[in-house]
Amino acid sequence: MEHYHMNLTLKVWRQKNNKAKGSFETYKVKEISSEMSFLEMFDVLNEQLILEGKSPIAFDHDCREGICGMCSMHINGQVHGPWAQNTTCQLHMRAFKDGDTIVVEPWRSKAFPIVKDLMVNRSAFDRIIEAGGYISVNTGNAVDANAIPIDKKKADDAFMAAACIGCGACVATCINGSAMLFVGAKISQLALLPQGGPERESRALNMVAQMDKEGFGNCTNTYACEAQCPKGISVANIARMNKEYIGAGFATEEN
């Protein structure tokens, strides 16, 4: 692949803290390599800002290899930038041309309050998991891996749902700010497997209740989440969650 350098104009959302009023700041970066990742380009910009005596831009990142779900950023109108099934850390600067203007915003959701600049607080997802995204098993000796027979297709579907890294791109891209793809994936990965069976009803009811409590929007089946998910999580998981939820409503007497 051809290696080139580029000069870019960046419009980045700056906001001191959750209460402050934010605004866009314009920055110029020069001689950016096409082989850099998007976050490396931000590292260059931040070093530049530090040298100028300005405050560096706060943004979330951790593994930088596309598996942790920490990086976010709404880049030129798309979560995780222009590449399909890709995280921001895996977005490379060859996606851009010399002279481009790139607008970078934090993820916008009432349930994801801004901490600073491009950093948002995604603890709402943790609280949804705490509400039921687990199985209650007393630990003991490891059981034989083949002790419980599992249908191969279901194991595969559960695995694909479990590929969700909880980054929140689904919420950020949804016109309604709905978290149904995340919750659908987390309910599905357990509902499809025998171990998830005993608590399936209370799990569906409690996780959906927590999701609503956090202030996420409602799903109107536009499927933008699936199109933008870095892990390609299918909206079939949302349907499965709906089925679990409706079933649970009839199956349980309380909750």
């Binding site: 109108g77 891209t173 700010g177 709905s178 499927y223």
Partner: protein, 222 residues
């Protein structure tokens, strides 16, 4: 939304089916026969109350969704870009619904209110137009004549109705398949079939409805 939507979808089949009787081109005899049945049958009249409640519920649900989803994103993005896969009509259901509501107000004014509450000068008893049918000597609204009156002269009304049908078509294109997803039906084999049936239904029923005012205007039925 899904439950009320599916109910309204089944209603449209009945509505379009009975209205299609105008295409017998028998001066409205068959159409009026069934129109009278719908207007006088106890079960249908009871269902009509349900229909109105479901329509109202559908609107209220839509408004609640709109409000809650607005609150869920207090600060909008400065730049948004479509992913090329998300359908514009899926994202515009509120707008399309509002257009349909505006259409419905006009539509009710034209047909539903006159036929339910009378008061329109050109409504005549069936006997007077000699359709050969009487129902206990009770005066019956001539709905067919109402259609003729509304649709034969005014081009603006025709355009209004056709635009209403176009809004309905896009609204149904999303609504039909979306209702199944809401009830947890998303299947490798059946979902493509549901989507195809949804498109056929949406386009078919909208074309059928739109053809009625057009047919009256151009005198294809009289």
């Amino acid at each position: 939304m899904g439950a009320t939507g599916l109910f309204l979808i089944t209603f449209l089949i009945v509505h379009a089916g009975i209205n299609s009787m105008i295409f017998f081109n028998d001066g409205g005899e068959t159409f009026n026969h069934w129109g009278h049945f719908m207007g006088s049958n106890f079960i249908i009249r009871t269902m009509e109350i349900g229909l109105m409640l479901f329509l109202l519920l559908h609107i209220v649900e839509g408004l609640l969704l709109w409000r809650q989803n607005k609150i869920a994103r207090p600060v909008k993005y400065a730049v948004t870009r479509t992913d090329g896969k998300t359908k514009w009509y899926s994202k515009s259901m509120g707008l399309l619904g509002t257009l349909i509501l505006i259409f419905l107000i006009m539509h009710f004014y034209h047909f539903w209110i006159p036929s339910r509450f009378g008061g329109m000068a050109n409504i005549q008893p069936l006997a007077e137009i000699t359709l050969g049918q009487e129902y206990n000597n009770q005066p019956v609204h001539n709905l067919y004549k109402e259609m003729q009156n509304v649709f034969s002269g005014n081009l603006i009304v025709i355009i209004f109705y056709v635009l209403g049908c176009i809004s309905l078509c896009w609204h149904l294109m999303h609504g039909f398949q979306s209702a199944f997803q809401t009830f947890g039906v998303n299947h490798k084999r059946y979902t493509p079939i549901i989507k195809a049936v949804g498109v056929l239904y949406s386009v078919g029923i909208s074309l059928l409805f739109a053809s009625m005012p057009v047919a009256f205007y151009f005198g294809w039925v009289n």
